[in-house]
Amino acid sequence: MNLIGTLPLVLDVKTLFFIINKGLQGNVCGQEFLDIILMAAAFDQKVVVLFEGDGVNALLKNQQPECLNLKNMMPVLDTLPVYDINDVIVEKESMEVYGLTENELAIKAAVVSRSDIKKQLRSADHLFGF
């Protein structure tokens, strides 16, 4: 990233919400979306990652996308804390739709109700989806 040298030294800190509402396999967009999340963290922004809708399935343990020659995203999700991304939330109602429980999730995430998420979203400077 040789262009980083041209950026100002002190950047504002914004709250960026990244909404994952579909599975991370099937097309490459999920994978490329995770790249933006990691880049935001690398720029020291306040990052919140929200899993909702179909997206909650991305958090399930024991996925084997390798058997379809697809990339396993779990190692990337595992590295979120390394990037200081600790605000990972899952929508409670979406988990109920798929009958998921907290101990089926592969990474540490806060289960939060839709109404509370709505309140949190108000604090965001930008929302990202894919």
């Binding site: 990233m1 262009l3 980083i4 950026l7 950047l11 504002d12 914004k14 960026l16 490459v28 967009c29 490329e32 790249d35 933006i36 880049m39 935001a40 690398a42 720029f43 922004q45 930008h126 990202f128 989806g129 894919f130």
Partner: protein, 130 residues
Amino acid sequence: MKISIQINASPYQHQAADTAWHFIQAALEAGHEVYRVFFYHDGIFNACRDSRPPGDERDIVKRWSALQSEKGVDLVVCVSSAQRRGLLEKSVAKKVGGYIHAVADGFRIAGLGLLMESVIESDRHLTFGA
């Protein structure tokens, strides 16, 4: 207002590139600054030099190039999205024996750092084709 734009969808198959282009025209006319247009995911196909639509149709790629040459809007194509989809920057293409004229005039190829910089620098970041 300082505005940055992200385009996630390919031209012609989706309306995202059209809507974004019209939005940008209106924003510039109203006196706003368009800080950067960042092409991500299949949005990188907006930069295909050899796109040749029939003569009675709008030429989306040429329209972007004109936006850069006439209004000076910064058009940035994500390097990893582009390489994955076969759109190579000249020096990379030379190195790997690829097609060296793939990228249309007015576009530059760069990393996600430039997306994040424009998100931080702008008052609004709008995504088309999410």
